[in-house]
Amino acid sequence: MPAIMEFEKPLQELENKISELRSFAQEKGIDLANEIAILENRAREVKESIYGNLNSWQKVLIARHTERPNTLDYINYLFTDFIELHGDRLFNDDPAVIGGIGRFGGMAVTVLGHLKGKDTKENLTRNFGMAHPEGYRKAMRLMKQAEKFKRPVICFIDTPGAYCGMGAEERGQFEAIAKSISVMATLQVPVISVVIGEGGSGGAIAFGVSDRILMLEHAVYSVISPEGYASILFKDAARCREAAEAMKITAQDLFELGVADQVISEPAGGAHRDPEIATKNVGEALTETLKDLLAVPAENLTSQRYEKYRAIGGLA
């Protein structure tokens, strides 16, 4: 059972009532099908009304939801023959980043992404998806490998941000992110990034320099967390709701700003309520996008990518 967010409570109450009625009907052998159908209808309406009118902060909460499908879920659902590859060949293997080779629609591709855990224990191992320099360096190694073997690269973005610790700084967090951006900007194979949850700042852009940026309907992507923005600009971290609104961080905002190229629909009630549909939708979007990009001559890919980033902000 997914953790319940405040704004989902009316829906949760209805869903509880439905399951109570069901077990009651079964226990007593009474036919309550009509009553249940009415409640189910009502629940569907409530779900659509809640999820059709989410504000930016509610989207942040959904994007961070621990039951939301993570990078590993997408890899398991959408890729076959996946082999995880480890290590940056320099220092360490960062568990906050997962990457390897697999087949997508029969074609060998390189797939990588931030990996958040599903519970506290797993999150401690995965550092909540916050990568150290070695995570970005592992990813760069895999991207260069993909280029060598002419495989497309698919990146899943899902991170609160790059880790802000002593070791990360000592080993050059800034250099790792800068280099990753540079590697992606010049990669000679198609690159697609999908923001599946939280796109946090420098940690996200390190995997986000791509031919196409796809965002899930309730994913967010921002220069700093709403809490960080509120604490710096409003001097009050509690004003994060207001910050989320002002920052323009939703998939819909980013599509309008020309940063996201496509918004992928989520099932009603969010990806965490129906991971199967969510992953299926992502798979379909990836298939289409990949087909488009494979039709572009390799020598045009990087110049198109250059122009794409050149045009954002409208001053070029």
Binding site: I177, S222, V223, G313
Partner: protein, 283 residues
């Protein structure tokens, strides 16, 4: 005798001021590191370096150009490019107006062409007095245009970085300046042209994690704070105090992230030497 008299006078005045803990702006400055009281005039003559402890005060873009570029050779580009406020935030509008008034600049970076020791280069100078030289749309655009100019003209690029990072008020568009500037520098690299990155205090966030980190040669001024996360953010994350010197230029050199630390009075000479070593005669 007369000189002696004046010196004494100043000394006395100073003592009074010190007791009041109020040093009038424009005349005297207290060294941020050692507390030495320095006259502005003397500081200016000494490249804005404390005579006692060697602390390098921050320079604005105009001061930087003055001590680096050959006199009369600097030709500014895109000076008229005005800041943008993509989300129409009223507070940001006010901040921008204030920064423009205070700095006399339209944005936090000055770009142009000039010569250093007779060698031509495209120059990018970030100005920490303008909103801590945070990178928004226009800063990214000016840097990208400068690098593109260098690619077309076959000239090397020198970027003096100083920045608190991405400009939050411009949201995701600020973040997108990172790939934009980096991609332009990749083209410079493909053209076989030199890029020297000079890191000055402070260079952090979206600027350190993009173009500033990618120089063929990376130079830093002594004592400059260089890192991805700011020290306060790290201390909040790890819940402990950072050791002395953490994220300073000397620390970064020791860890292999910068090529050399150059004191300001020798910086122009060092840059000229590097430009000379990479200079290609026109064919």
């Amino acid at each position: 005798m007369v000189l002696e008299f004046f010196r004494n006078q100043k000394y006395i005045t100073l003592q009074q001021e010190l007791e009041g803990r109020d040093i009038p702006e424009g005349t005297w400055i207290k060294c941020e590191r050692c507390g030495e009281i320095l006259s502005n005039k003397e500081l200016e003559k000494n490249f804005k370096i404390c005579r006692k402890c060697g602390f390098h005060f921050r320079l604005n873009a105009i001061e930087r150009i003055k001590i680096t570029v050959d006199e009369g050779s600097f030709d500014e580009m895109d000076a008229g490019l005005l800041p943008v406020n993509p989300f129409g935030l009223p507070e940001y509008e006010k901040k921008l107006a204030l920064a423009r008034e205070k700095s006399g600049l339209n944005e936090a970076v000055v770009t142009g062409e000039g010569t250093i020791g007779g060698f031509p280069a495209v120059l990018v100078i970030m100005d920490p007095e303008f909103m801590m030289a945070s990178m928004g749309t226009v800063v990214g655009e000016k840097i990208t245009r400068a690098v593109e100019t260098a690619v077309r003209a076959g000239k090397p690029v020198i970027i003096f970085s100083a920045s608190g990072g991405a400009r939050m008020q411009e949201g995701i568009i600020s973040l997108m300046q990172m790939p934009k500037t980096v991609a332009a520098l990749a083209r410079l690299g493909e053209a076989g042209l030199l890029y020297i990155s000079v890191l000055t205090d402070p260079t952090t966030g979206g600027v350190s994690a993009s173009f500033a980190a990618l120089g063929d040669v990376i130079i830093s001024e002594p004592g400059a704070l260089i890192g991805f996360a700011g020290p306060r953010v790290i201390e909040q994350t790890i819940r402990q105090k950072l050791p002395e010197g953490f994220q300073r230029a000397e620390f970064l050199k020791q860890h292999g992230f910068i090529d050399l630390i150059v004191h300001r009075p020798e910086l122009k000479e060092t840059l000229a030497l590097l430009l000379a070593l990479h200079h290609r005669e026109e064919k």
